[in-house]
Symmetry: D2
Subunit: 401 residues, 4 copies
Amino acid sequence: MNIFERIESDVRSYCRTFPVTFQRAKGATLEDEEGNRYIDFLSGAGVLNYGHNDPALKRPLLEYIGSDGLTHSLDMHSGAKARFLDAFETHILQPRGMRYKIQFPGPTGTNAVEAAMKLARNVTGRHNIVSFTNGFHGMTRGSLAATGNGHHRSAAGIPLAGTTFMPYDGYMGEDADTTEYLDKVLSDGSSGIDKPAAVIVETVQGEGGVNPASFEWLRSLEKVCRKHDVLVIVDDIQVGCGRTGTFFSFERARISPDIVLLSKSLSGYGLPFAVVLMKPELDIWEPGEHNGTFRGHNPAFVTATAAIETYWADDSFSREVANKGEYLRGWLNSLSARHSEMGVSTRGRGMIQALVFNDGDDADAVAARAFERGVIVETCGSDGEVLKFLAPLNIAKEELA
Amino acid sequence: MNIFERIESDVRSYCRTFPVTFQRAKGATLEDEEGNRYIDFLSGAGVLNYGHNDPALKRPLLEYIGSDGLTHSLDMHSGAKARFLDAFETHILQPRGMRYKIQFPGPTGTNAVEAAMKLARNVTGRHNIVSFTNGFHGMTRGSLAATGNGHHRSAAGIPLAGTTFMPYDGYMGEDADTTEYLDKVLSDGSSGIDKPAAVIVETVQGEGGVNPASFEWLRSLEKVCRKHDVLVIVDDIQVGCGRTGTFFSFERARISPDIVLLSKSLSGYGLPFAVVLMKPELDIWEPGEHNGTFRGHNPAFVTATAAIETYWADDSFSREVANKGEYLRGWLNSLSARHSEMGVSTRGRGMIQALVFNDGDDADAVAARAFERGVIVETCGSDGEVLKFLAPLNIAKEELA
Amino acid sequence: MNIFERIESDVRSYCRTFPVTFQRAKGATLEDEEGNRYIDFLSGAGVLNYGHNDPALKRPLLEYIGSDGLTHSLDMHSGAKARFLDAFETHILQPRGMRYKIQFPGPTGTNAVEAAMKLARNVTGRHNIVSFTNGFHGMTRGSLAATGNGHHRSAAGIPLAGTTFMPYDGYMGEDADTTEYLDKVLSDGSSGIDKPAAVIVETVQGEGGVNPASFEWLRSLEKVCRKHDVLVIVDDIQVGCGRTGTFFSFERARISPDIVLLSKSLSGYGLPFAVVLMKPELDIWEPGEHNGTFRGHNPAFVTATAAIETYWADDSFSREVANKGEYLRGWLNSLSARHSEMGVSTRGRGMIQALVFNDGDDADAVAARAFERGVIVETCGSDGEVLKFLAPLNIAKEELA
Amino acid sequence: MNIFERIESDVRSYCRTFPVTFQRAKGATLEDEEGNRYIDFLSGAGVLNYGHNDPALKRPLLEYIGSDGLTHSLDMHSGAKARFLDAFETHILQPRGMRYKIQFPGPTGTNAVEAAMKLARNVTGRHNIVSFTNGFHGMTRGSLAATGNGHHRSAAGIPLAGTTFMPYDGYMGEDADTTEYLDKVLSDGSSGIDKPAAVIVETVQGEGGVNPASFEWLRSLEKVCRKHDVLVIVDDIQVGCGRTGTFFSFERARISPDIVLLSKSLSGYGLPFAVVLMKPELDIWEPGEHNGTFRGHNPAFVTATAAIETYWADDSFSREVANKGEYLRGWLNSLSARHSEMGVSTRGRGMIQALVFNDGDDADAVAARAFERGVIVETCGSDGEVLKFLAPLNIAKEELA
């Protein structure tokens, strides 16, 4: 029995699907302890948009650590944090005409979701948060209450409160605009749906099965929220940082969320990091009201700064991602056309694309076969029927092919 | 207006007390951008037990990153994780005769607390968790429900449920054994206190004001829990990893918690990292029931392994910490004796020691004066009346002096 | 200032719409202290299906009290209770081929709703209860959580938990079968809707605006519940006891609820009384698990027995109610046709009928004018836009006309 | 199998202890269907302070019903209600110098408790309510959350939220003033006890085991509440209406509760009736915010008025109750002295007195033996170890003897 089986909790999961021990990684390639190589279409579930150990980020990281740069700083001022804030303002916010204040809520996505929920509740004085069917926002009690997955929810061991689930785009069939239903229950004083502080939404549901909301739907959602004075929180943790082709996934939808959450690929190097962006007038936080030990993880500030400067100083990377996304989508379309007998469909946006099978068994079988042939790809969706392609955005065209 | 004031959320806090920008750090010394140096008696609120950028950890970290070791691995097997598990088993668990399984619940303390609460609830089928007055366990909705601080609690914007607060050791006066009250309400079927899944307890309350529970009290608490079939969770996030002189803070109390939580100084380098230790029979997790993006933060595995091998392969470090703790305590005692007119008292255990003032103003004044003279030390306790000394454990004797 | 204004709480409400003091009542007629008479189309919000002080019930009530029959008996056996149970079994359950056990949960509707929710949760081990938009089930915290009205909900002063609201029949437009949506969220393990213990439903929503669910919808709802192993609770408090023409409102829909709630007109005399009917296999109550002071209100047993024997020993009353209902509906239809410029529509079932106005102002104006002319009728619906006709079922044809 | 066993839910309870069918009752005597007579020391669990079918109340009741007085009136003005309000103001409030407004929240105790909790939460904007160990306040979800009994609590099938239990007088031993603990947690911003809207307290815990709080403790409780701006709710449902010798149980303690709850013996005849008394400045209810079908139960208004006029127009009845209480207490003291080997103690106040046995078996045996000999008396307390004597207050001296 190896050390993992002997001593690691049974909760471990990915290692059961990919039962090797990884040692090294570079770009889109993982290497196990026997030297076998795998192309990574999982990317740390969206963490590695710039691939593993990107030299453009690795260099400043090594320099920073080598020179005894401050590693851990709580929420004190640090030079590395100042540089990150400056890069984020210069290259991300200003060119997009955005005005947000930035909170460092702790280094994981769920820290950011929890902080955003607190803020929305305090700003509005309301307790309810609207989440969407198949939404995924995290594992701590507040964020879990907004997560649809029943396997995760029941693990709470206590009823999850404070959220209302509404149907996501497409959930009631192609023709139904589910924001109309939301508008109706919010307009109806006897619907039983307590007026929410906010909606929290992913523009493309990742864990929920690669479900892209149409831009029209997102705009309509924003409109309904404005009408009822409800805040819009975009959870851009999985599909932000360029995954759909633009830095924020909602740019092409032309909506203006009140609160935006980033994590996963934000550090660009796999280092834990998360931020909450909030419109300045929402920043009613009192000092220290929300805190956390690892709010100041400076190595992540360093790599995040390098990632922004390397990839987002102009729009060339954005165009490259769009191109690759189209290429991938075309390839998946022709693949599913070739196997039309299986009833496979495709969906996605930019570089998050999926093959949707009839059931989880088919998807599992394909994933297993892919792994045998050196490709790491995971399934998602409520029955695991969706094969999710999440390659690094900077993967070489040949490797993608 | 600097970048922080312009763009960072008002929630920032420590930077208001220490209004400089830190750039570099080594051992117990922080350096700001103007080259001023400060002795660090804050240690990242307990994260930096081995000081800043300890060379014994920095070397393997640089090597690991330099050689493209896997940075981010979700919960897949990685070589770095295997080495951490091996070191933890060899140097921590086995010498102490402990048998625990290890869960990687995400890299922050609150991830660990939330996972432990879920597990306790699912193992027992009960929803209630007993926490203690002045306890601190985190900022996400589940852990926040177990945190006493009203400033943090009210920020939730929604009532916090699923916990019952009981008086901590000493809370009802010196003579009262508060575990008797716990025993009474658990024995009384009409007390209104729903039988809990677990108690969650710090052996020394850190944020709550440096309150050390006596070993007798901890043993009595364990006994009451055994009697009523209630799990014992020790939150050793702040005072574990050697802070009180032993690796686990409860070793000298000779109790055997069902679940132990570690984070903060676990990576030893300020890198986000947390684990849940659970008795093997409690490991009823189903694969993936609790997950999280940053469960596999390999640089933290690397430094944590180095920290264990460097400091915990034998008991010399433990003795050194005990000595320094006594020295510090003696010094604080004589200091408070010299200023007996101020009514200052001392308390603590090992290298977490405190001066307890009559009110927060006195403590603030001393902290501010210390900062002017190059010492960073923070206040805690419900009125901020406690000055908490949390130097790196490996601080040089002269620097400590 | 009269005694009411001086000393009764401002929460009083109906007395503001009908600002006279009532003294006496008989059949469908109320009389105020000045001798003015009013035809009662309110019927105590559904309590007085047999009118005020029905002689057939009054006689045995006076005899019972006169002979020192037991008034209050907790849940002890009393002769009056035995006679009620016998009559209920003989005239209500047996002729309909129904098998239910009967619980006396306390004398008000909300006592019954709360008991039913407890039972459903304990039988299934699940916490969630599905309620419907515009549903009304009571004012205590459990039943209020299942009530849609926001004015009532916000009065709780605490978030209401443990329920999920689904769209009632017709809520998403004429063409949408809202049970399909329910089926979808229950079939989808990631919908975020925790599998419920039960649905609680009114076959005609009374307070919610006189919304009759179609029999097809009710059957479809039952089918979805069976498919997912979810209990069906019919709250027949307002429209049971003959209001729609049959004793239970769901008889013609041919569904078989697991739990049925009766109150309001059950005593037939305006005396507080309520029961929970449950399929025998669901009766897992332990003795005394749910109790209450006024479970044994014997005068109500006496009048309820007389009401059953008088009105439900054969089906003549049922036919009479159906006839009157048709008459009333026809009259309302022609009235609304005559005033087609006002855009008024009609809806209802049996002897609960309504005129639906465009807004609450129109409905209020009509109700106020009716009161001036000696007719008491109330408005309901989420904007008060519905004028609800709820005459005694045994009102004389001429009086109805 | 009799009708009860065949068709009544297994939840029935008292009938198991007293397995006969009662038919008739007068004063302190119950009569079963075989003509056997029993002296009633249960009094409907506190409902029948004036005995069964008191002629002074029965006469106006028969007259009222006979003359077609309004039975059910929702919250409309009725003559019977006006007379009740007048009598209550004249004979109860004014002589005691009390100013309260009166709400009719529905006819049972739990309706009153739920309404009071809503009001307290809305007045203060806080969600928490402090209840006490062994307190009993009702079975609906809000009141149940404030009830200590675990058998009842677990029947909820969902965690009960919004309350905090504090130790009642004497709970921590004779010497400990438990209001000091309450003061401490309310004074300590990190105690984890959210500042409550109100405390809800019984001056003598009835179901909880006949525990009288000392007047000093009640005054101290009121003082702590005033200090922290917390409302005081006295649940006088079981021991109000003269049970302890004064109309309100708290008169001799000289406290001035913000909200007082009455039910049980309020109608004086066993008819369901309850009121919430609130200080005028707390009456922030909006019309109809809390409603309920049976708020206007006029027969209960009639008997309640007669009871007030008969028993409370002067203080003679009060003195009579005090005398009987002393007599009963003396008798129980000498009884327990005679059986000192059993370790029985006595406690109580006025005409709620108890014998406290070592365990529930002893108490059960005595109650069973009493029943055989024609005396009905129930057990209470968390282990059923308390025999509770709750005779009608107007029981004849000889019958009491």
